[in-house]
């Protein structure tokens, strides 16, 4: 009996040793540095805009007590980092699930914080009556960027909503970790639509409800994004088991402030501090507040090229500056299965001129429809356009429609063209 039990024991021991050796001989799931995951309390503390420190969103008491939240958060991410599994660990999906759960909570927490700071709505710094649509439109059009680009998500545009981003067939083949990074991208779009990013970034009358300097706010805001990207990059590399995406995550040009805001992802901080920025091959002045780069920029309408030259490589991207006074309001666009397309055209008030809309040409798939409008729009006002397209579509089908508007301003006929992507409504 002893011999047989010993044999079973040896077999069990061999199975254990073989599996543990097999696991341990593979590399760990990581592509980021631990110190990148740690938040600098000193920098981020001024962002505490909460007058009531316990937000009460979660049942976990004190989760939104700001200081303890970030201390707990640092401890948590440190522990997650230290206990990351090997690539061959059969239980790594459990770890991925846990990391993803924490990342979702973290993103939610960060989103709540941004919401409380008023980043998603023109509250802070808004002059006049917030419910007055003209005032609101004026605020937004003044502060909104006129060019937007992302190398991370090259199909970025002003005319895409969060749900459209996630439904984009372009994402096919992306790992879950990488898709997860679209969430902060959605925030950028959302806050750009209200003009808030530029106001927070460049207007030193900020903050309206924080007793801190604009510089302190910016440093905190940059630190907030730095740690958010570092943690999401960690999650990305853990879930997708490959190095995190690196490059120009987001770029926006603000003619009102003569600035371009660049957000970089996973490019080492040292390389960014020593980088050079070339716009159309001309070196531009820049200020680095990692992961942000603020570039002094004055550009005409049209396509421009930006080169971010670091010691190891050059990240180049083209972006299209659109200075037309018209916009198709993205949330207003609706394409129904019966082929009915409706949208709202807004005069965003550049140069404060009245615009005469002649017609709109809609291209969808292979069909083209021309719709006469013949209407004037005064600044900060809009007009509604309804078009019947010949094509019948399937509900929830993904579509891309190009809208070209011929308009007259200063007795000159001009053309505004935009591409809308979305899903067919019922």
């Amino acid at each position: 009996m002893i011999k047989k039990l010993a044999l079973i024991f040896i077999a069990s021991l061999l199975v254990s040793a073989a599996e543990i050796y097999y696991i341990n001989s593979s590399p760990l799931l990581d592509e980021v540095e631990l110190e990148d995951l740690m938040v600098d309390y000193g920098k981020i503390e001024p962002l505490n805009v909460s007058s009531q420190r316990n937000y009460g969103f979660m049942t976990m008491k004190g989760a939104y007590d700001y200081d303890s939240y970030y201390k707990q958060s640092n401890d948590l991410w440190k522990e997650l980092y230290e206990k990351r599994p090997h690539r061959r660990d059969p239980l790594k999906p459990n770890y991925k699930l846990t990391v993803m759960g924490h990342a979702i909570l973290e993103v939610m927490g960060d989103g709540i914080l941004l919401w409380k700071m008023g980043i998603f709505k023109p509250r802070c710094g808004f002059q006049g009556n917030i419910s007055d649509p003209v005032n609101r439109a004026r605020f937004i059009s003044k502060h909104a960027p006129r060019a937007l680009k992302s190398d991370f998500y090259p199909r970025a545009s002003f005319h895409i909503t969060g749900s459209h981003i996630y439904d984009d067939p372009y994402l096919k083949g992306w790992g879950y970790g990488r898709k997860f990074l679209l969430m902060p991208y959605g925030w950028f779009i959302l806050s750009e639509m209200t003009g808030m990013n530029s106001f927070l970034l460049f207007d030193d009358r900020f903050p309206c409800n924080m007793n801190i300097s604009h510089q302190d706010f910016l440093e905190g805001y940059a630190e907030f994004h730095r740690v958010m990207f570092a943690r999401l990059s960690f999650v990305e590399s853990v879930i997708d088991e490959k190095p995190p995406w690196q490059g120009i995550y987001y770029l926006a040009y603000y003619p009102y402030f003569n600035k371009t805001w660049i957000v970089v992802k996973s490019i080492p901080e040292k390389e960014i501090r020593d980088c050079r920025i070339l716009i159309d091959d001309v070196e531009a002045g820049r200020e680095v507040m990692y992961p942000f780069i603020f570039v002094d920029t004055i550009l005409d309408e049209g396509i421009h090229r930006l080169d971010l030259v670091t010691s190891s490589t050059t990240y180049s991207t083209n972006f299209d500056v659109d200075l037309s006074p018209l916009r198709v309001s993205t949330p207003s666009v609706a394409l129904r299965a019966n082929g009915n397309l409706s949208f709202t055209i807004v005069n965003i008030g550049l140069d404060n001129q009245t615009i005469f809309l002649k017609n709109a040409i809609i291209d969808l798939n292979t069909s083209r429809v021309k719709k006469d409008i013949d209407k004037e729009i005064t600044p900060y006002h809009s007009t509604y356009v309804d078009v019947i397209l010949p094509d019948k579509l399937d509900r929830e089908e993904y579509y891309e429609v190009t809208i070209s508007i011929n308009y007259v301003v200063d007795n000159q006929v001009k053309k505004y063209k935009t591409e809308i992507r979305g899903m067919v409504e019922g």
Partner: protein
């Protein structure tokens, strides 16, 4: 035939001279008292090492992910507090565990014996119920040995390597049951007059069941977390 007449079957015979064990059972040469005592011991040891295996599962989580503190989980699962406060709870829990394990041990082996009895009748064998029951109790030493050994090895590997093998933890004890049912197959053949083919038919539902359990164990261990993650992303719209 069918009535125990007393005799001696050593536990070591199960491993070394199983033919002799089957012969002794067939001849009714076993002590009913000893069989019942053995059942009590097996039930208690199975529960005890099953409990330790659960704790080693927590150790596994601890060794893999760190943020799960095995000690805290154990402490909180019995109501929290410090170790001296927990002692009465642990004592009560221990006795409860023994009682439950004995009841479950009886229920499990009676049920199994019942099924074997009726399945063997279906194929024309007439095995006295007590013989069958004794056979199962003696052979239960095999899965118990696998469970004890794998638990000890898990503890050793955790202490030595700070890691635990999932195969050893989830699959190895089930291998004990595979061997148990195969041994039952030979045992039923030997204590009755049926062929190996018929005794295979008697035990095959349970052999299939244990392979299903092994498959489900693999699924819940290796597959389910990945599926949950995919479902979560799907639900998030990502």
């Amino acid at each position: 035939m069918g009535k125990p007449t007393g005799g001696k079957i050593n536990i070591s015979d199960v491993f070394d001279r199983h033919k002799e064990v089957f012969k002794a059972i067939r001849g009714g040469r076993y002590s009913l008292k000893k069989v019942i005592l053995l059942l009590l011991v097996i039930s208690i040891l199975t529960s005890l090492f099953g409990g330790i295996a659960q704790i080693s599962g927590l150790l596994l989580a601890q060794s893999k992910y760190g943020y799960l503190d095995a000690y805290t989980i154990i402490r909180e699962s019995v109501g929290g507090g410090s170790i001296p406060d927990l002692i009465p709870t642990l004592i009560i829990g221990f006795f409860l565990l023994i009682i439950i394990s004995i009841v479950l041990g009886f229920a499990y082996l009676f049920t199994l014996a019942f099924f074997f009895y009726w399945f063997s009748r279906l194929v024309g064998a007439r095995i006295p119920y007590l013989h069958l029951y004794s056979l199962l109790i003696y052979l239960s030493v095999i899965p118990l040995a696998f469970l004890i050994i794998s638990t000890i090895v898990n503890l050793v590997s955790y202490l030595a390597l700070e890691n635990i093998s999932t195969l050893n933890m989830f699959i190895f004890p089930n291998l004990g049951y595979v061997i148990f049912y195969i041994a039952c197959m030979f045992g039923i053949k030997d204590i009755s007059d049926i062929s190996l083919k018929w005794s295979f038919l008697v035990t095959s539902p349970f052999l299939i069941l244990i392979f299903v359990i092994i498959y489900l164990t693999c699924f819940f261990t290796y597959e389910l977390p990945q599926r949950i993650m995919e479902i979560t992303f799907y639900q998030l719209g990502l």
